[in-house]
């Protein structure tokens, strides 16, 4: 039984519970619903909630925990001798999983039965070829202990599934009966149902917390694994980034950080003055018609996915800068460069900066403007000497938020900045960033055993800490600023 079917069955039982509960409540008062504490539907709801929710939660938890338990039990049966030199147990385990999956596929294709499998031994049968037939490709021939482990894995998994089905159905039916027998006219069904719903609402809002926990936990865990294989000192202080397939890589973050900061700086140099001037012009000067046209146009820029900007950098801006700037000046002949990525990212950030600044400028009270005009100041004097100083903390916050965006941006730099880790000053040369390297280290075949892959998590953690720090700071500044004018 698949988990989807099981979930549907639980829901069906719950619906039956709703109908039964409602009817029972009504029949207890012989149809006179005024004698009930709550409206009859609430009695049904209580049964429904008690039937469905704990059972489904159990199912979720089981699905989550079972792989861990099974993995540990199976992993313990694999003798150390099987683990190849330089490889790791987790690599062997991933083979085990794939063989198990392959066996399932063979089974469902009707190639052989459970009984055949019990007799099947890796020493006699060419498992690799047979699995190949159903599209499961293995890198090497299957060693007998691994094959046995795969069989054990299958056994454990299917037993676990069967147990789960039983347990879930038991919980659902048990709670259905229990909540059904509790129904009485005096039962505070509405309160019970509402408390239950409130708990569900609370549960939904903890998803955000769980996401953060998930992010932090996965980043920290894998970064920890990384630092077991690669010295943290080299990661943070080495100025070379040179990953090798066969080990002995240099994985220094400094050139990546430099590229990231350089591209972000260029982007901010483009976005901040332009975005700020747009905000000022549209909120202080522009007439209705200009605003009605320009504001949506700028907002459209904000709604365009970054992949579009990436493509723009790749096919238009990059070649343009190369042909008209880099080559004539003799400064390089790469179409991906810091300037390409920075310029395009700057365009992407313009609407971000301008809409944040717009909010901030509008938060400056009109009285401030009136005061300045009444003294005979011109509009630009008012903007430069009264509004901007008054809005300064807010604008600083907006710039920090934009910086955090720039640092975390991926697609534009992947397609526009290049892949060469380099510590240089020439903006027309290709450089690379933290996000580019996360992508390149984690796409393709990812085996979680080599420092070359795991370094991506250390990079991710660095990125996370950076952007989070900038955001917390920016939000703090902006909040302080808003409080000032409330």
């Amino acid at each position: 039984m698949t988990t989807g079917t099981l979930a549907l069955i639980v829901l069906a039982i719950a619906v039956v519970g709703f109908i039964l509960g409602r009817q029972r409540a009504l029949s207890l008062v012989s149809g006179d619903s005024r004698k009930l504490h709550s409206r009859p539907g609430y009695y049904g709801q209580v049964v429904l909630l008690f039937t469905a929710v704990p059972a489904l939660l159990l199912m979720l938890a089981w699905l989550f925990l079972q792989p861990i338990v099974v993995e540990n039990r199976v992993s313990a049966t694999i003798p150390d001798g099987v683990v190849p030199e330089g490889g790791s147990r987790s690599l062997v385990m991933s083979d085990v999983r794939r063989i198990a999956d392959g066996l399932d596929a063979l089974m469902s294709a009707g190639r052989f039965s459970e009984d055949d499998l019990t007799d099947m031994r890796a020493d006699f049968v060419d498992v690799r070829t047979r699995l190949g037939e159903v599209g499961v490709a293995l890198g090497s021939d299957v060693q007998p202990p691994v094959f046995e482990a795969a069989k054990l894995y299958r056994d454990n998994t299917s037993t676990g599934r069967a147990l789960m089905t039983g347990a879930v159905l038991l919980v659902a039916l048990g709670l259905l009966v229990w909540s059904f027998t509790r129904i009485s006219p005096a039962q505070r069904a509405r309160n019970a149902s509402e408390s239950f719903v409130k708990a569900l609402l609370l549960g939904a809002s903890t998803v955000a917390v769980l996401t953060t926990v998930g992010i932090v936990a996965s980043l920290l865990l894998e970064t920890f694994n990384f630092f077991k294989m690669y010295p943290a000192r080299d990661f943070f202080f080495s100025t070379t980034w040179n990953p090798q397939f066969r080990g002995g890589s240099d994985l220094g973050i400094i050139p990546l950080l430099w590229g990231t900061l350089y591209v972000s700086l260029v982007a901010l140099l483009v976005a901040v003055p332009i975005g700020l001037m747009i905000a000022i012009y549209l909120s202080e000067y522009a007439g209705k018609r200009v605003r009605g046209f320009a504001k949506p146009a700028i907002e459209v820029l904000a709604g365009i996915p970054t992949i579009v900007y990436g493509l723009f950098a790749l096919i238009t801006v990059g070649p343009f800068l190369r042909d008209w700037l880099a080559q004539p000046l003799g400064l390089g002949n790469s179409s991906s460069s810091v300037l390409t990525a920075g310029l395009v990212m700057g365009i992407m950030l313009i609407p971000f900066v301008s809409s944040l600044s717009d909010d901030i400028i509008n938060a400056v009270p009109q009285a401030m403007r009136d005061g300045s005009y009444a003294l005979g100041a011109t509009q630009s004097e008012t903007v430069k000497q009264v509004i901007l100083p008054a809005a300064l903390p807010g604008v600083v916050g907006a710039i920090l938020l934009a910086a955090s965006r720039a640092i975390g941006e991926t697609m534009i730099v992947v397609m526009g900045a290049g892949a060469a880790a380099r510590l240089g000053l020439n903006p027309l040369e290709a450089m690379t960033t933290v996000t580019v390297k996360i992508v390149s280290q984690l796409t393709g075949d990812t085996e979680f055993a080599s420092p070359e892959t795991l370094v991506a998590f250390a990079l991710g953690l660095t990125l996370f800490v950076f952007t989070l720090g900038l955001n917390v700071l920016a939000l703090y500044i902006v909040r302080k600023y808003r409080e000032q004018y409330e």
Binding site: K288, P365, A367, M368, R369, D370, G371, S372, Y373, A374, L375, G376, A377, T378, E381, Q385, V386, P389, A390, Q484
Partner: protein, 265 residues
């Protein structure tokens, strides 16, 4: 010295600072001010009174073209300052507002130091040739604003840190700093407590030695206390204008009387 001032005052009483004839103000379709003609005298406090929405603030804002900043607002008729039409296309409102300062209902100090608040106007208009002159203007303005003694030791502290009454006097001092000839005040005491109000009223009385002051107020007692001339506005019309004493003791128009005795308002 006293005689000197008294003497000047008598002569200046005759000076008409603002002369307005048949002034109309429109907000889009709304006709907010209708046919207002009034002469505002130099070195005199003139108060505009009337019920809410009668147009007194609108008219006040027309006098230094603050209405220009409101989209859709139109002013017709003739408004002259010292005989010059202030709505003449050749007039730069920036120059006009340096001559005709304005103080608002709610104190609105800039988020700058006390010193910079005062120095703002002189700086943009280039009234001081050097730092010493600027210091002098700041001190003079704060003295005129009756604030000098309270803030002279903390000129670099933010103006927003002052109390409400002090803030309003700071704003008055700020207006004074650009050496205007007319000071417009839009309900300058409505956000202040009685003690601060008394201080500001005292200040207004002193200001009239040097400026023509126009004050919009909701409080008839205040109008009676501080002003020599009073204009009563009702539904966009100027109903009655004359000496304050006359208006309050012997109004000619029944509407004025109703308002003063509290029957409309």
């Amino acid at each position: 010295m006293k005689d000197n001032i008294e003497g000047r005052k008598l002569v200046d009483q005759m000076d008409v600072k603002f002369e307005t004839r048949d002034v109309q103000v429109f907000y889009g379709e709304t006709h907010a001010i209708k046919d207002v003609s009034v002469d505002i005298l130099d070195k005199t406090v003139t108060s505009f009174i009337g019920p809410s929405g009668c147009g007194k603030s609108t008219f006040l804002r027309a006098l230094n073209r603050m209405n220009d900043t409101i989209p859709g607002c139109r002013v017709e008729g003739s408004l002259t300052l010292d005989g010059e039409d202030i709505y003449d296309p050749k007039v730069d409102p920036v120059q006009l507002r340096a001559k005709v300062g304005m103080v608002f209902q709610k104190p609105n100090p800039f988020p700058k130091s006390i010193y910079d608040n005062i120095a703002y106007g002189p700086r943009i208009h280039g009234l001081a040739r050097n730092k010493a002159e600027l210091d002098e203007i700041v001190e003079m303005s704060l003295r005129r604003g009756a604030l000098w003694d309270e803030v002279k030791d903390r000129l670099q502290e933010p103006g927003t840190g002052l109390s409400g009454g002090q803030q309003q006097r700071l704003c008055i001092a700020r207006s004074v700093a650009t050496a205007p000839e007319v000071l417009l005040m839009d309900e300058p005491c409505s956000a202040l407590d009685p003690i601060a109000t008394a201080q500001v009223e005292e200040l207004i009385d002193e200001l009239k030695q040097n400026f023509s002051v126009v004050i919009v107020t909701h409080s008839m007692q205040q109008a009676a206390r501080v002003s020599q001339k009073t204009a009563f506005f009702h539904l966009g019309y100027l109903v009655e204008y004359g000496d304050t004493d006359t208006i309050f003791t012997n109004p000619t128009d029944p509407r004025t009387e109703s308002y003063i005795t509290g029957r409309i308002g």
